[in-house]
């Protein structure tokens, strides 16, 4: 290909790309970025604006352009199914995020204590993360099936008191979803934390041993604060996963029993395709967007400051 970016030829020293005087643009680079610009402007920005705009109209089954203020949002929060799904995703989110963080962190700490067969342990704990949520959901659905699952096996073995039937009980089903989620994602947290632990100065351990500080206190008060960015990253990834949860619920409980595991992402899908209520679906999606942004932007910002402070640039 002919060098389309010929504007910047060898005549101009490469380091000095800031153009003064005549405009010299890297045409080929701009052409190469066109798909990315188109995707950002048309898909990411365009469809977001479109969705938010629909949520402010009277649209129901068919799109309408008649402005309706925030009435769709009023309708949305007046819908029991939606408030219900928000409650569920909060319960799920807290249990899932905290559970995966604690399990993942413990696994990382255990593996970091110079155990034998380190990579074998790591492989065992991380493989669920390679599985889809559909596969994860179906696996746990069978394990928790009272007729053929763990409960039946335990009872057949004489443990008559044993119960593990969460997916069939509306008060426990959401915890079943969280358990399956933790099983799938704890390995991710382990990997992130392990990378953070390996970045900690080896002298620290010698110092704390000489000082006679108990191990649990070293981890809690010295190591954990140093893992700040890893913790923030894991927290952010898990929280976003929790907000978006859809496939896992579909495969494990399909929202049931009753509405006990309905979640916003599923509510939006059902409103869009099964119930064909465009107004509710777009209002729900907009609420979801703002929730995600409210969580991620402060964390991204805080992590940026943290890294810059570490590098002595702040």
């Amino acid at each position: 290909m002919v060098d389309q970016s010929g504007a910047r030829t060898t005549a101009s020293p490469p380091g000095r790309s800031k153009v003064t005087g005549r405009l010299r643009l890297p045409v080929a680079a701009m052409a190469a970025l066109t798909p990315a610009w188109l995707i950002i402007l048309l898909v990411y920005l365009g469809t977001t604006v479109w969705t938010v705009q629909i949520s402010l109209t009277k649209s129901r089954m068919l799109p309408s352009s008649e402005f309706a203020g925030l009435s769709q949002y009023q309708r949305l929060f007046g819908t029991a199914r939606w408030s219900n799904s928000i409650e569920n995703v909060l319960t799920f989110g807290v249990v899932y995020v905290l559970g995966a963080m604690v399990v993942g962190l413990l696994l990382a700490i255990a593996i970091d204590r110079r155990v034998r067969f380190e990579s074998a342990w790591r492989t065992m704990f991380l493989y669920p993360y390679a599985l889809s949520f559909i596969v994860t959901g179906l696996m746990w659905q069978w394990l928790m099936n009272p007729e053929i699952g763990i409960q039946a096996t335990a009872r057949a073995a004489g443990l008559g008191w044993f119960t593990f039937d969460w997916t069939t009980r509306s008060d426990m089903a959401i915890y079943a979803v969280a358990l399956a989620g933790i099983w799938q994602s704890a390995g991710l947290v382990m990997v992130l934390m392990l990378a953070g632990l390996r970045g900690i100065d080896a002298d620290l351990w010698r110092a704390t041993r000489i000082e006679g500080i108990p191990m649990w206190r070293t981890y809690l008060t010295i190591v954990l604060p140093q893992l700040g960015p890893s913790v923030a990253t894991a927290f952010m990834l898990l929280t976003m996963g929790a907000v978006r949860t859809f496939d896992l619920v579909v495969a494990l409980t399909n929202g049931g029993p009753g509405q006990s595991t309905e979640v916003p992402a599923k509510f939006i899908m059902d409103s869009l395709f099964a119930r064909q209520d465009l107004g509710l679906a777009t209002a729900g999606a907009t609420v979801m967007l703002f929730t995600v942004m409210a969580v991620t932007i402060p964390i991204l910002y805080a992590r940026d400051i943290w890294t810059r402070r570490q590098n002595g640039r702040l």
């Binding site: 390679a130 179906l138 069978w142 992130l192 990378a195 496939d247 465009l278």
Partner: protein
């Protein structure tokens, strides 16, 4: 690319076999049971007859190695009235995953390269927008994207679902490559410029060969991500191109009459097989992908 796990652990040095040490291994063993048992149960059950399954011994080994349920899962399990097993979904997933992975990795490589070395006006803004775009929940795009792909004649088509995957893969792949190129000495690029090489020449002859590790990592991440996708396939692929995950879920949830757990579990294992093989074969590359993809910005 930095290896996320340098060879030696930095935790405290072990002191003989103390109680703490035994407790540590006990913890690891219990954790391993928790992570492995579901997969074990799934595999043994896929060989058991329905009678064996009802005898409520999910941990027992099958009486014999009967592959017939696997065969049924692959070629004749029913989703409603369609009795073609998961094989159709498997090939659909291949047809979706291969082009979508290649295209999105290439797009990410080119975009990351242009953003890292050429920085045309607006680069900073574009990169910020891409980073934020990666966080937007997919639900917000669905209705407009359905309308847009329908207007382009791509809704419910193979080309449509591939395009959708490329579009939504852009943030991750761009980020991976931009961060990767940020670690390449800029002097290398400048030298190529002095030699008179242009944008594409530097990309093909210098940057692509240099980014082989990242091509593998990004390809791996995209491949597993696209293979495991459910939502986009459900909405955009159309009845003739449903990916394996969607078909598996249909087979399991639409069964009428007696539920054939053995067939269903075989179908589930089959669906999990491709990403699992990729995971076990690729080893540390998978881990690198996770750490490289999560350290955003």
């Amino acid at each position: 690319m930095r290896d996320p796990f340098p060879a030696t652990a930095r935790g405290q040095r072990p002191q003989r076999l103390t109680t703490a040490r035994i407790g540590l291994y006990a913890f690891l063993l219990i954790a391993a049971l928790f992570f492995l048992l579901p997969a074990y149960v799934m595999i043994v059950t896929s060989f058991k007859s329905m009678g064996e399954i009802r005898s409520a011994q999910i941990f027992s080994l099958p009486q014999m190695l009967d592959w017939s349920y696997w065969l049924e899962a692959w070629s004749s399990a029913c989703a409603g009235v369609n009795c073609n097993g998961v094989s159709v979904g498997f090939w659909n997933s291949v047809k979706i995953t291969v082009p979508a992975t290649i295209l999105s990795v290439l797009l990410g490589a080119v975009t990351g390269y242009a953003l890292s070395f050429w920085k045309p006006p607006g680069s900073k803004l574009l990169f910020a927008a891409i980073t934020i775009g990666g966080f937007i929940p997919l639900q917000i795009f669905l209705f407009p994207m359905v309308r847009a792909t329908a207007a382009l004649g791509l809704y419910n088509s193979l080309a449509g679902i591939v395009l959708v995957h490329v579009v939504f893969g852009l943030p991750l792949t761009t980020l991976l490559f931009r961060n990767y190129y940020a670690a390449i000495p800029v002097e290398l690029f400048k030298a190529a410029r002095v030699d008179g090489a242009g944008f594409w020449r530097i990309f093909y002859a210098l940057m692509l060969p240099l980014s082989l590790p990242m091509l593998v990592v990004a390809g791996l991440m995209q491949m597993t991500g696209i293979w495991n996708d459910f939502l986009l396939g459900l909405v955009f692929a159309g009845r003739d191109n449903l990916p394996m995950t969607v078909q598996l879920n249909n087979i399991v949830t639409t069964t009428t009459g007696q539920r054939e757990y053995n067939v269903h579990m075989a179908a589930t294992v089959l669906t999990a097989l491709v990403p699992l093989v990729a995971y076990f074969v690729s080893g540390r590359w998978f881990v690198r992908g996770i750490t490289a993809g999560s350290v955003k910005g």
